[in-house]
């Protein structure tokens, strides 16, 4: 890590092993956008033995929720999460792809009941990892989604 120019954080979350180019999506999931007050550092297209190239995101003062973890797993199934307390890693784990997600993805099928604004239907997908990629199926209409980041709510 010494090649990185991004600073250490005191308390917060480091998300490593994000597929190259997906860091901005991760920030979006964490609700970080222009005007946000969190201190964020990020590295894109960093060399990685395992992945070739990868992105890293560090957020000071932020401890990630389960809901956010589920979302990150959908676009970065190999991501590792480090929770940092007082400059030390207090917890380190990999994200795991949830088998089912509710209200996180929108169904691409316009005629799906889950897209009818009149109905109290929460979108629901079964999720599976296929050769390193995440595939999601709409529980209602059966539509398969391969490019999940396009359909994150």
């Amino acid at each position: 890590m010494n090649v990185l120019t991004i600073s250490k954080i005191r308390d917060g979350t480091v998300i490593d092993h994000i597929p190259a180019g997906k860091a901005l999506e991760v920030l979006k999931i964490l609700g970080i956008k222009s005007g946000s007050r969190e201190r964020v550092s990020m590295a894109m297209n960093v060399e990685s033995k395992k992945m070739g190239r990868k992105d890293i995101v560090k957020v000071e003062g932020k401890f990630i929720s389960d809901e956010e973890l589920n979302r990150i797993a959908l676009i970065a199934p190999k991501a590792t999460i480090n929770i940092v307390k007082d400059f030390e890693i207090s917890r380190k784990f990999r994200v795991s792809i949830p088998q089912r997600v509710e209200g996180i993805l929108r169904c691409p099928n316009q005629n799906c009941i889950s897209n009818d604004p009149k109905e109290p239907a929460t979108s629901e997908f079964r999720v599976e990892e296929l050769n390193g990629d995440v595939v999601a199926w709409c529980v209602f209409c059966g539509k398969k989604v391969y490019d999940v980041e396009k359909y994150l709510v």
Partner: protein, 297 residues
């Protein structure tokens, strides 16, 4: 087998579930023909909720329910209902389930039947949701095949519109469980979509003549006029997928069709022993009797 509570998609059924339901349909054959009386669903009420007209499917469910001694209530014309006033499907379902022991739903939105099964305490049977599933049609097709030909190691030709026919798509999924060999006969523009071919069966693309020579079952579907930019193009295509008595002269293959037909099967086929499409329509009744008694027992 696992008890079937709702019938939403053919994918929810295992091979043994399907075989069980078809066996049960056998038990109801005489009752469906009106030769024997049964009152097993006496006192039960079925609600037919058809948000899209499909008179035959609705009547077939109605016949099945009444043959078992049950009663049927209908939604009536949509213009006259609360739906016209903008009521959600969810609210309609919550009200209707107060009146009935089972709901048969046909709706134009895909996934509506699954949604209904989450909302309702009474069993829900999917009678077609948009371009989605229509599992009772698939079951009656399978029943016809088993009765009139054989289900295991079957050679079946699917003829006509293989792109948009959901009947064909569900049937392929189900036939994959029974080791079928499937011949595909369709115009270039109406070929079977790749994603449907993602099942464990052998597909052979061929012409109508080859299909007649090889298959045990010829499953014909309608080629719709509106799929073609001009009338002339449609006529040319539709004409070359039209089955006639002459073509079936030396064939024992049975001819099936989900009906209604337009002119893809010539009327001179009706008198041949090959023609089973009207019996196929009848088989919908015992099959639906099996389903209704299963979910309401």
């Amino acid at each position: 087998m696992s008890r079937i509570r709702h019938l939403i998609s053919i994918d929810d059924l295992s091979k043994s579930d399907i075989e069980y339901l078809l066996d049960r349909a056998d038990d109801f054959l005489d009752v469906a023909r009106g030769k024997r009386r049964l009152r097993t669903l006496e006192g039960k009420i079925l609600a037919n909720l058809f948000f899209e007209p499909s008179t035959r499917t609705r009547m077939s469910f109605e016949s099945a329910m009444k043959r078992l001694g049950g009663e049927v209530i209908n939604l009536g014309t949509l213009e006259a209902t609360s739906v016209a006033k903008g009521e959600s499907l969810a609210d309609t379902l919550r009200v209707v389930e107060q009146y009935a022991d089972c709901i048969v739903l046909r709706h134009y939105r895909e996934g509506s039947a699954r949604f209904a099964s989450q909302i309702c305490d009474v069993p829900v049977i999917n009678a077609g949701d948009g371009a989605g599933q229509h599992p009772t049609q698939t079951l009656l097709d399978l029943y016809t095949i088993r009765k009139e030909a054989r289900l295991n190691n079957l050679k079946i030709a699917l003829i006509g519109d293989l792109k948009y026919s959901r009947t064909v798509h569900s049937l392929i999924k189900a036939l994959a469980l029974f080791n079928a060999e499937i011949y595909l006969v369709s115009p270039e523009t109406l070929r079977l979509p790749e994603e449907i071919m993602d099942v464990d069966v052998t597909f052979v693309e061929c012409d109508l003549k080859e299909a007649i020579e090889n298959a045990d079952v010829l499953y014909v579907t309608r080629i719709q006029r509106e799929r073609f930019p001009d009338e002339e193009e449609y006529r040319k295509v539709a004409g070359s997928y039209r089955l006639t008595a002459e073509m079936l002269e030396n064939s024992d293959a049975i001819v099936m069709h989900p009906l209604p037909r337009v002119d893809e099967i010539s009327y001179d086929v009706d008198g041949l022993k090959n023609a089973v499409y009207f019996r196929q329509a009848f088989y919908g009744v015992p099959v639906r009797m099996a389903i209704l008694s299963e979910v309401m027992s």
